[in-house]
Symmetry: C2
Subunit: 152 residues, 2 copies
DNA sequence: CAGGATCCCGCTAGATACTG
DNA sequence: CAGTATCTAGCGGGATCCTG
């Protein structure tokens, strides 16, 4: 079942959204997804933070529990984790599944849409991880230049 | 001359940086580049916002002036534009060139490092622009479900 | 033209405490 | 376990004024 209307599909096909425009909805969406926690949650649900290589076949990505996510994203507060997960769920990027066990079990999983964004976000995370040394070197050079500023 | 130390190159080669760790420098870098304005500035310097197709050959990307960037990124404040550009310059992603004309001319250009990030960021921007209709539809559905919440 | 410097508001991240 | 609720400090970010 398609969850998009005809009008929406037409719009998408015509690429009529432009994030350069302040009023365009895509600008807001860009702002939402341009977030540290979004990147990390998506990557975690993509299986990037798992030590066990199980289910690493693209299909059937891991359904992670809240606590697993909290452990993977070191230093995240419950508030930010919950808040970001809700936002992702609302936007249709992840699904939230509640299993009424004795202590309730909640798992999160990427949707198809979420998986499409994951591809991009993985690139962002990897870029940061591979280029941080270069960036650090540039900063040192920049700051060194700034420190010997002409007093005259 | 190489601007990276031997230790840094070793580290990069071993992929020992992990943004999942709170203390890892790459986490901070991820936070920096996960920014609306960073994405838009990079895309603008990548030539995405230009009407004239000139210099769209990958090589020789446009050197945009401050005012051109301000016009392209509709709604950006001078503060955020200047601040983000400084940050990008410090990180070695863009170069800032001052030409001492009558009214001074300042142009910004992507470095090789900046161009490598551009590839990723273009994906982020395009994802937002192409998937905003779907996301909007999901939100509507989500909010509709939330509005008929059980009062009992 | 391309910013630098300030003021200041708003919101948001984080810490803490409580709960089904 | 997986949240919700509340409070607050901090700063992100816009508006405004000024300058080489």
């Amino acid at each position: 079942m398609a969850t998009t209307t005809a009008a929406q599909r037409r719009a998408a096909a015509k690429v009529q959204f432009d994030a350069f425009l302040a009023a365009c909805p895509s600008r807001k969406l860009l702002d939402r997804i341009s977030d540290k926690w979004v990147v990390l949650i998506l990557c975690a649900l993509g299986g990037d933070g798992l030590s066990r290589p199980a289910a690493g076949d693209g299909r059937g990505l891991p359904a992670l529990r809240y606590s697993q996510l909290a452990r993977t994203l070191a230093g995240v507060s419950q508030k930010m984790l919950t808040q970001t997960l809700r936002s992702l769920e609302r936007d249709g990027l992840v699904t939230r599944t509640v299993t009424p066990t004795v202590p309730v079990t909640v798992t999160y999983e990427l949707t198809d849409l979420g998986r499409s964004l994951l591809e991009v976000m993985r690139g962002v995370k990897r870029w940061a991880e591979t280029n941080i040394p270069t960036v650090l070197a540039h900063r040192e050079a920049y700051d060194a230049r700034a420190s010997r500023a002409p007093t005259s």
